[in-house]
């Protein structure tokens, strides 16, 4: 009842929140460093009195003094929350004057945990959800009317708190974040990205509080009003604190504050209050000052937006490119990487596509041999650590979809649902719960209709069904399906017709472009022309390979020709970068020509490879190795390249390093160049020769998050032909033991930088030796010495990366 009254009221009239709590309590006697939330237990009458003063000043919504309470800080958090909510309830009943008693609400305030979530910090997403869930359950029990999630400066933690509210109550949720001078959250999110995610998650009102005064807040207000469709919260500080006559005061008084808030109201603020330094006098002055300003609910926006943890991507204006490379269909290397859980390969693909110009990344890890839901969760989590592009969570397994959507930090794109009833019943609730935009494939109970009209009807069916789950038309993107013209020549025309028709209806479309040429020679030719046609027909998103030059040429030319690229600046930038690539290619061609001309020139190229490795020119070394292998007249044998050029180059660099003639940066760059050349050569080696017995597991031990030393060792070992399984940092002993057992590898390298983590190293060594006495453990790290290594049971110690290679070769 109160819920519906609140939801109705915030859309009909301006409501007011309270002002500062901490600063008021300090004025009431809270000592510096004392936790204000404890006053709910020790001074409930003072807390109640403060809440009452805010209601009497005109506030409708007063949050409880629970900002700093959670189950990890206080064992008695439930009791504390109960008492704190009780204080607000009492105040709402007893306050005289001020806001209309019928329009007073008790908000349960939820503050951040104080810990950073993975991957930047150590708190797991689900742990964060559970911490907030405990608060939410206590708040519901205590009788709160709404939840007020406030002053969070991280998008991911905000999502965890919102999900906790949604999964443990049906009360309305208000979210107000603390933005910095750049107009972003500390971890990078813009107001637009936050609005996209929070509206998707069904939050009733969004906005900003704290950080700065109302003058600065006015500068950011349009970022909300231009994007959001829900009521908007603004709770600025009373300016900045300063010392006057030995007392700390804030520099914006009630009158000045209220004048600023008039502007905030005029520009679209619908839920107004104050934060640090504001007092009941500020709130009273504000309520009076804005009373004649007409209420204005933000206009309903019809924008299709997806977002990552830093920025949003709008769909429907200029075409959006989705990188297709993280999808194992037809990609042998990715399949192998998924089976081997080689996450670095996947991350490398993510970064490469971003660098090539993708706006969004498709993530599909579906293989029958693996646990797809677990891999989806891992892939999404890890990709988010290296790329800030929005992700398209792609699976036909609803469990994998949910894992990906849940762990995703932002507003995701879900791929996909289709028009089969069972699929819609399964997938649409997920899209609704996690606030995703969703791709609808035009596949019905009878399969894919041959005609454009048939596919359009299925598109309408999906849109209608989605509406039943509260998913708006703007968040449905239809895939008309590009069927290869090799089996039905009208496949392209039908897809283009659907795109044109749906464009007229304001429905966005998407295509996996390269399907069109399946089974045909010179596929790039067909793909390129079809892509141009689809863009001209109004295609909103293309799933494609951003590493394909013809496709990117088409995209940039299309944008320039269709006025999506002001003054063709991006086209010019792209064309210039292309020219550089062409130049490099011509250098390569020269090398090839020389190689093919005579053996001497070939060895000139090979010598150049050695020089490239020594000088650490990674890309050059990679290209040269490829050229040497593919010379049509006198190409080098793979083993010859390794033994005659790569290894001697490495030995020369290693000797220079050990003699102090070169230093660690050069050594690493050379090793990396050798790795690049080695990878190329390996592609041509027969499998029996490519497989190596030189295998090693490396890890930084539990509790230690420093991995620079371990990474150096890894790159050097790889350059000397070792297969390295890198378990990362902060690795529990059991994980290392399990990997050794699973892989059968008998050599383990452990690293530790902190004295406090050496016991974990000792524990790991003991566990490995107990498990299999044949396992040899080599150790290194700033706090270790040969003697100490021996004392903790290690089989060998190495002082640096180069020595680690020598030691590993001996132990193997």
């Amino acid at each position: 009842m109160k819920k519906s009254r609140f939801e109705k009221l915030i859309k009909e009239k301006r409501l007011f929140l309270d002002g500062g709590t901490g600063t008021m309590l300090q004025a009431m006697g809270l000592k510096a460093g004392e936790a204000s939330e404890l006053w709910c237990m020790t001074n409930p009458e003072k807390i109640t009195d403060l809440h009452k003063r805010y209601y009497e000043a005109g506030a409708n919504i007063v949050p409880s003094n629970t900002f700093g309470i959670n189950c990890i800080k206080y064992d008695n958090y439930e009791e504390m929350i109960k008492r704190a909510v009780e204080c607000v309830k009492t105040a709402a009943k007893e306050a005289v004057g001020g806001s209309n008693p019928e329009e007073r609400f008790v908000a349960m305030d939820i503050g951040p945990t104080g810990m950073m979530l993975e991957p930047l910090g150590s708190l797991k997403f689900e742990e964060a959800v559970e911490i907030f869930a405990a608060n939410v359950r206590a708040g519901v029990k205590a009788g709160a009317d709404i939840f007020f999630i406030e002053t969070f400066n991280d998008m991911y933690e905000t999502k965890a708190a919102v999900l906790a509210c949604r999964e443990n109550s049906d009360l309305p949720i208000m979210v107000s974040n603390a933005y910095d001078e750049r107009g972003r959250l500390m971890t990078g999110a813009t107001p637009q990205a936050m609005a996209a995610m929070l509206e998707g998650l069904g939050v009733s009102a969004i906005g900003m509080n704290c950080s700065f005064g109302p003058d600065k807040m006015l500068e950011t207000i349009n970022d909300f009003t231009d994007f959001a469709s829900v009521p908007l919260i603004f709770k600025p500080n009373a300016g900045l604190p300063k010392v006057v006559d030995g007392k700390t005061v804030f520099d914006v008084g009630p009158e000045e504050f209220s004048q600023y808030m008039v502007k905030v109201a005029e520009q679209g603020g619908t839920l107004l209050g104050g934060c640090c330094g504001t007092t009941p006098d500020h709130i009273k002055a504000m309520v009076e000052a804005v009373k004649d300003i007409p209420y204005k609910l933000p206009e309903k926006k019809n924008k299709t937006i997806i977002a990552s943890y830093t920025h949003h991507v709008e769909i429907g204006n200029e075409p959006v490119l989705i990188g297709e490379r993280i999808n194992p269909t037809g990609k042998k290397k990715l399949k192998e990487a998924l089976i081997a859980e080689d996450i670095d390969y996947i991350l490398g693909e993510a970064v490469k596509q971003e660098e090539n110009g993708a706006h969004v990344l498709d993530v599909n890890v579906g293989l029958p041999e693996i646990d797809e839901p677990a891999m989806m969760e891992r892939a999404v989590r890890e990709i988010q650590a290296v790329s800030d592009l929005p992700l398209q969570i792609d699976s036909s397994d609803s469990e994998a979809l949910e894992k990906g959507l849940r762990i995703y930090n932002g507003k995701p794109l879900l791929n996909s649902v289709n028009a089969k009833q069972a699929v819609m019943d399964e997938v649409l609730p997920l899209a609704a719960k996690y606030g995703a935009a969703v791709i609808g494939l035009t596949i019905g109970e009878e399969g894919i209709p041959e005609t454009a009209q048939g596919r359009i009807e299925l598109a309408h069916k999906i849109v209608e069904e989605a509406a039943g789950y509260g998913i708006e038309k703007k968040d449905i993107i239809i895939d008309p399906l590009a069927l290869t013209i090799s089996s039905g020549q009208k496949g392209g025309l039908v897809a283009l017709e659907v795109i044109k028709q749906l464009k007229k209806e304001g429905i966005n479309t998407i295509l996996g472009v390269s399907n069109i040429s399946f089974g045909l020679p010179k596929r790039d030719l067909i793909n390129q022309v079809f892509f141009a046609n689809a863009l001209a027909a109004g295609l909103s998103l293309a799933i494609m390979n951003p590493g394909s030059t013809p496709m990117m040429d088409t995209y940039h030319a299309f944008k320039a020709l269709n006025c999506y690229d002001e003054n063709c600046l991006k086209y010019i930038e792209y064309a210039e970068a292309r020219a550089e690539v062409v130049e490099t290619a011509s250098v390569k061609a020269d090398v090839k020509q020389a190689a093919e001309a005579d053996k001497a020139a070939l060895y000139g190229g090979a010598d150049e490879l050695k020089t490239s490795i020594i000088k650490g020119r990674t890309e050059h070394a990679r290209s040269l190795a490829a050229e040497l292998l593919s010379g049509s007249q006198a190409n080098c044998e793979p083993l010859e390249i390794i033994n005659s050029f790569i290894i001697p180059a490495l030995n020369e660099v290693g000797a220079d390093y050990e003699a102090g003639r070169i230093y660690l940066p050069q050594l690493l760059m050379s090793a990396e160049s050798a790795n690049a050349a080695f990878e190329k050569v390996k592609e041509k080696l027969p499998k029996s020769e490519a497989d190596t017995d030189k295998k090693v597991i490396i890890a930084t031990v539990k509790g230690d998050v420093h991995d620079i030393g371990k990474n150096i060792v890894k790159v050097l070992l790889e350059s000397y032909g070792f297969d390295v399984i890198d378990l990362g940092k902060d690795t529990p002993p059991e994980v290392i033991r399990d990997e050794a057992v699973k892989s059968g590898i008998k050599l383990v390298g452990l690293s530790a930088l902190m004295t406090t983590t050496v016991p974990a190293m000792e524990e790991t060594i003991k566990l490995l030796h107990e498990t299999d006495p044949e396992i040899k453990v080599m150790v290194g790290g700033a706090v270790l010495s040969p003697e100490y290594a021996e004392r903790i049971g290690a089989d060998a110690y190495s002082k640096d990366g180069m020595e680690a290679v020598r030691v590993a070769e001996k132990l193997i």
Binding site: T248, G616, N711
Partner: protein, 209 residues
């Protein structure tokens, strides 16, 4: 109520301390000022440019009273630290500046990304980031000194960080609470009291008027 000064430092305005950088790159003193035989100078410049573009340097500092009792009890008004080494450092101080500075989550993300794409650039950028945050801490120290000297002439002690000597790293919790590290800097601690973002420095600088 204590006033915490906080803000943002433009990375481009900071000249990274070259000796600090040499130490972190394992280079002998003076290497970076010489013409180098290999091509890593270009890489260094490129990595520095990227790091400075990506990171967001935030700082916060706060003046507290300092009262050193006996040989180990350091009362810093908002919290106390039990440490012989810190007590020695603060000896004679009447106050202390609690300061924090960070390169932000953006720097951690860049490092993670480089750890995938190029181990050598990762190593170099990690060294640059460590040296940059150290240089930024010098700038914050200068800001704090100027701020205090506006009122009275002070003499300052060397900066001292929780985790050094016998000063337990556990003190980071109280320290970050005092400077409102999460709100002002976006710094949080893990179970082992390591800071996130990782390229962050907290320190205590004693002073006497």
């Amino acid at each position: 109520m204590k006033i915490i000064q906080s803000g943002v430092i433009e990375a481009d305005g900071l000249k990274i301390n070259q000796r600090q950088l040499e130490l972190r790159l394992h280079l002998p003193a003076g290497t970076l000022s010489k013409e180098n035989e290999y091509e890593y100078s270009d890489v260094l410049i490129r990595c520095e440019r990227t790091l400075k573009k990506e990171c967001c340097i935030r700082y916060a500092f706060l003046k507290v009273e300092a009262d050193i009792e006996g040989d180990r009890s350091c009362n810093l008004e908002l919290f106390s630290i039990d440490s012989v080494d810190l007590a020695k450092n603060l000896k004679g101080s009447t106050g202390a500046v609690l300061m924090g500075v960070t390169l932000g989550a953006e720097a951690d993300r860049l490092l993670k990304r480089l750890s995938i794409t190029s181990k050598s650039e990762h190593f170099i950028t990690d060294a640059l980031a460590s040296a940059l945050v150290d240089t930024a801490a010098d700038r914050v120290e200068e800001l704090a000194r100027n701020n205090l000297n506006e009122v009275k002439s002070c003499s300052f002690r060397q900066r001292y960080s929780p985790g050094y000597g016998d000063c337990s790293i556990e003190n980071q919790r109280a320290f970050l609470k005092a400077i409102e590290g999460e709100k002002n800097l976006g710094i949080s601690l893990n179970d082992h009291c390591f800071m996130s973002p990782s390229k962050s420095i907290t320190s205590i600088m004693g002073f006497s008027e």
